[in-house]
Amino acid sequence: MEEQACPRCKTTKYRNPSLKLMVNVCGHTLCESCVDMLFLKGSGACPECMVPLRRNNFRVQLFEDPMVEKEVDIRRRILRDYNKREEDFATLEEYNDYLEEIEDIVYNLCNNIEIIETNKRIEAYKRDNREIIQRNKARVGRDEYALEELLELERVQEESRKKELDELETEHKKKKARDKQALIEELMYSGKDAAQIVSEFAEKAEKQREEEKQLPPPKAATEFSTGIKFGQSADPTLLPVPKSDEGPLFVYEPFIPYTEGPVPPQAIDVDTMGYIQHIRVETPQENAGGFTSTMACQRALEEALQCLYFTPTAGLGVGL
């Protein structure tokens, strides 16, 4: 900002770095004081290019390069009309063509190429797509409105919280002052032992602090000042979770395997008694799945010993 000088009063820029540069539609910059002077005199023309100007066309410059400012300005103006979205197009190609057209127009206007031609194009487009433009404008409006509401909400919540905190602070301070005062009075006028009085007060202070903690936290604001309710974060259409009646609690009963045969060895015995040596070690893939050779060994032994004592009677077989 300091390097740029206002083209009219060149000196004033260096002297006052806080002075802002204003820019207008033709892209030329003027410092604030020069703008005022220009319009005091009553003539509304840019000093460099003599394009007629209006006072409110001047905006505070955001970018160093005036060309960029100009382009940004043009783009904003164009996009207010060319506000179609991707959903409005059938294919990606069409959308890309549309975007390219916008770029062409902006470029032309920025560099003063075929201005009349381009303006005609813009007019034609506006006429053809009037409804779509209107609809999209409305849509944008709605989104912004919703956002604004949310912001408002947050702001108000913030304010109310701050207010409460302040009140709490002052309350607290006042109480402390009162307590101190009471202590001093006691010491002065009562006949009791000084140390006792002090300890009494200390206890009371403790108790009060406890009570404070127990106080419920201040109720959060649920209304705008106008009475409109807000803060409904939970979806009012959802019902609260129904409480299910719990039946009798599950009691674990250990599984007693039923074998009509000799008792098979337990898992520990499989290792200690040497059964495990006679079975192959599990592969890493099997181990990853939680499978161990002890299991295989135990299973083989169990199956060998199951129902050794069993003598079958009539089976059911037929159709049952």
Binding site: P257, Y258, T259, E260, G261, P262, V263, M273, G274, Y275, Q277, H278, I279, C297, R299, A300, L301, E302, E303, A304, L305, Q306, C307, L308, Y309, F310, T311, P312, T313, A314, G315, L316, G317, V318, G319, L320
Partner: protein, 325 residues
């Protein structure tokens, strides 16, 4: 777990007599139903199969079954063979071969066994192992699948003796003083092969069959495992020892008494079967095709000619598929 399984509850019987009763019952029921088809009412047994002929036929087809499984590509694990045998035997306890030809049921049993024992074979891979018309075989297997499962009363889990045998070998290696129990394996394998041709799997528990095969192999190797049995296994319940010894003896008798049927006799029976079988279930017969046709089309529009069904196959070969050599 075998003690809690359906196999023990409903598919294990007390003795061979019970099994024979079931089979005879099925046979007589079929003959009564189809008595009208016989050419002469007095010689029913000449036309229809007798229970003994049925037994012979089924024995032959069991041999075909094991051949089929042995030559199967990809190589089939033993438990699948065991399960297929179980299904085959159980099915023919409640049905007669005249109703459903053993060839078809054989293929279906193996297919279902593959699925149940998680030996995944697609139907295409499966019929590649069958000689003859592949499409027809596919149709037959798939259409009989549900029938088979239903006849087994949907009890598909089968406990085979293979794991108990492994368990016993581990136990022997750990607890008895036998030298090199691995010698027993070839004898065990051959014993198990013969076991499946008998009805032992429906009369005894898998662990008893396993123990019987171990003892048989031991005696073949001139080893004596009686001390192992009495001390290690029955130390806590000596009174059950007798029951077990009885069971083992019976199993070994069954295996010893088994003799494969003669080819010539079986051929005669097969010819007889072709004539007396239930034509409703014969995929080659006109009756079957007619039934299917009616099943798949509306009553109003009967197609003039059913080129659409590939079951309407005009091969001169009368047998549905060639599984045997």
């Amino acid at each position: 777990m075998y003690p809690l399984s359906s196999q023990r509850r409903s598919w294990t019987f007390a003795n061979e007599e019970q099994l024979r009763v079931f089979r005879v019952e099925q046979n007589t029921k079929y003959i009564e139903e189809h008595a009208a088809e016989a050419p002469s009412p007095d010689n029913l047994n000449d036309y229809f199969l007798t229970p003994d002929e049925e037994r012979l036929l089924l024995k032959q087809y069991e041999i075909y079954l094991i051949d089929f499984c042995r030559r199967f590509e990809p190589p089939m694990p033993k438990c699948v063979i065991g399960t297929a045998f179980h299904y085959f035997k159980r099915f023919y306890l409640n049905n007669t071969p005249m109703d459903y030809h053993p060839k078809e049921i054989l293929a279906t049993c193996v297919f279902v066994a593959c699925k149940v024992e998680e030996f995944n074979v697609s139907i295409n891979q499966f019929v590649n192992n069958i000689k003859g018309d592949r499409n027809k075989a596919t149709d037959i297997v798939l259409s009989n699948e549900l029938l088979l499962i239903g006849q087994l009363n949907y009890y598909l889990t089968v406990h085979n003796p293979f794991r108990p045998i492994e368990g016993f070998i581990i136990d022997i290696k750990t607890r008895s003083k036998m030298i090199n129990p691995e010698r027993l394996r070839p004898h065990i394998d051959s014993f198990m092969d013969s076991i499946f041709f008998t009805d032992a799997c429906m009369l005894h528990t898998p662990s008893q069959i396993g123990l019987a095969s171990i003892l048989h192999a031991a005696s073949k190797e001139q080893e004596n495992l009686d001390t192992y049995v009495t001390e290690a296994l029955f130390v806590s319940a000596p009174e059950k020892l007798r029951g077990l010894i009885e069971a083992v003896r019976k199993i070994r008798m069954l295996v010893k008494n088994y003799e494969p049927p003669e080819r010539e006799a079986v051929k005669v029976i097969e010819k007889k079967l072709d004539k007396c079988r239930n034509q409703n279930n014969n995929p080659d017969s006109e009756l079957y095709k007619e039934r299917l046709r009616r099943l798949y089309t509306d009553e109003d529009d009967m197609p003039a000619d059913d080129a659409s069904f590939h079951i309407a196959d005009v091969s001169s070969d009368t047998s549905a598929m060639n599984i045997s050599q």
